[in-house]
């Protein structure tokens, strides 16, 4: 399964880029799908277990705002 990871800014997307690249995660950077609302125009689509991927980012202090599945169902949202 692949998931959309949303962020506030391009800088946070770049942080996620560096972290996933270092950890060997399969991911892509792409424009945020129209159906989702994000403060930043870019998001990261990564494949794997979303909770694990989210923890990888949060442990590296990347500020993730939300995670959605490919059917665009909400998995997690920062409160």
């Amino acid at each position: 399964m692949c998931f959309f990871f949303l962020f506030k800014s391009t800088t946070e997307v770049m942080k996620a880029d560096a972290v996933f690249s270092k950890k060997g995660v399969k991911y892509e950077i792409l424009p945020v799908p129209k159906k989702l609302s994000s403060e930043c125009g870019l998001c990261v689509k990564a494949c794997g277990e979303w909770k694990e991927l989210l923890n990888v980012l949060l442990n590296e202090k990347v500020k993730v705002t939300a995670v959605y599945d490919e059917g665009l169902g909400e998995c997690w949202k920062k409160t």
Partner: protein, 395 residues
């Protein structure tokens, strides 16, 4: 230091004006600028295509390198501006705007990038401007600055090293005394970052302002500041950031809050290469090289009859910027002769810092300034000493 910077291909010169801008730069700086311009070229943070992502990686990479150099952990707190002057204007306005009737503390070693916006906004907001004088040796006593700080102080502005006399003001003591009142200290590192070891990890009230084109060896048109977690400010310039596009409110998060409009990615690509070069060589190593040359220059000029040298001889409180005069000669005339007759590039006059010249007693004529950089050599110093000697002797 040899090996990775090529210069003087068009003009055979001895370049001693590194305090104005460093020259030459490492070759990799221009390679990075060209690679971005020719092969990438896109706008970071706007579109989502591969070239825009590549451009965003360049900008983020530069933030990362700068945060390493500053000894801090948050790359998103590194804010880019077009130069240190713009960063200073942002900070002066943001820190003074809600401080009507209070006071601001600064030193007489400040550059006009600080003194002019401070003078203007202090008058506008009826803020008392407390300028702490340096001694004739161009040293500021941090205790004097601390004594001027009180609970009505809205900010302290300190030049880490004078661009005229090369004297260093230790900011740590000032930062600690300002922290007792919860006051931010804006530190002008234009003459120190990249050539003088610093770390800001222990200070959450110090805002270092940097330029990209001096000790960091990047292109002109680059600069910025680091905003620590302990300081919250309002932006001065607002506009498009590529984020929160549905809202007409400026984003509240960093770095977008302070970075409206398209960044100078060409410059930032080059700056990233410059900072990587500095990190590889090591700031301590670069300082040793430059201070060895500086001491050679100081001793050489000290022996020339009629030459007056300015600033203290406490070498740990110096960066390789040397101001001098030849008795009875106009500094502008000396600099012109150095250029025309000896191919030496340097800067005479007031160096955009009239307060500093007034404090040391070299106003209004100013001084001749030699400023050394990473690519200067002993031979450059010897050419300079010999040239000054010949000018002082009437050629």
């Amino acid at each position: 230091m040899k090996g990775s910077g090529s210069a003087g291909k068009r003009h055979r010169v001895v370049y001693l004006d590194n305090a104005a801008t460093s020259f030459p730069k490492p070759d990799r700086v221009w390679d990075a600028v060209l690679e971005y311009a020719r092969d990438i070229g896109a706008n970071p943070g706007r579109s989502g295509h591969r070239l825009a992502v590549e451009a965003a990686r360049i900008v983020f990479g530069c933030r990362n390198l700068l945060s390493r150099l500053l000894g801090v952990g948050d790359p998103e707190r590194v804010i880019f501006t077009k130069n240190a002057t713009e960063a200073m204007n942002v900070l002066v306005f943001s820190l003074l705007r809600n401080s009507y009737g209070k006071n601001v503390v600064t030193t007489s070693l400040e550059h006009n990038a600080v003194s002019r916006p401070l003078r203007y906004w202090c008058r506008h907001f009826k803020i008392e401007l407390r300028v702490i004088p340096c001694g004739k040796d161009a040293l500021v006593n941090p205790k004097d600055v601390c004594e001027a700080v009180d609970s009505d102080t809205c900010a302290v502005f300190v030049n880490h090293a004078s661009n005229v006399f090369g004297t260093v003001t230790p900011f740590e003591e000032i930062a600690r005394c300002a922290a007792r009142f919860g006051i931010p200290v804006v530190l002008d590192t234009t003459q120190t970052l990249g050539t003088y070891p610093v770390s800001f990890s222990d200070f959450d009230n110090v805002i270092p302002v940097f330029t990209g084109h001096k000790g960091l060896l990047g292109p002109q048109g680059t600069g910025g500041f680091y905003l620590p977690e302990g300081v919250d400010l309002e932006p001065f310039i607002m506009g498009g950031t590529g984020s929160n596009s549905e809202s007409d409110e400026q984003p509240s998060f960093l770095p977008d809050k302070f970075e409206s409009g398209t960044l100078n990615v060409h410059g930032i690509a080059g700056l990233s290469a410059g900072v990587s070069w500095v990190l590889e060589k090591g700031v301590e190593g670069l300082r040793k090289h430059e201070m060895d040359l500086f001491l050679h220059l100081w001793e050489g000029l000290k022996g020339v009859k009629g030459v007056v040298l300015y600033g203290c001889e406490l070498w740990e409180r110096r960066v390789p910027v040397l101001s001098f005069n030849i008795e009875g000669m106009d500094p502008a005339q000396v600099a012109f002769s150095l250029d025309r007759d000896f191919g030496i590039c340097c800067r005479p006059g007031l160096h955009c810092a009239p307060w500093a010249h007034k404090a040391v007693g070299t106003y209004p004529e100013g001084t001749v300034r030699f400023s050394l950089g990473a690519f200067n050599t002993y031979e450059d110093v010897e050419v300079a000493v010999d040239a000054v000697k010949r000018i002082a002797e009437g050629m």
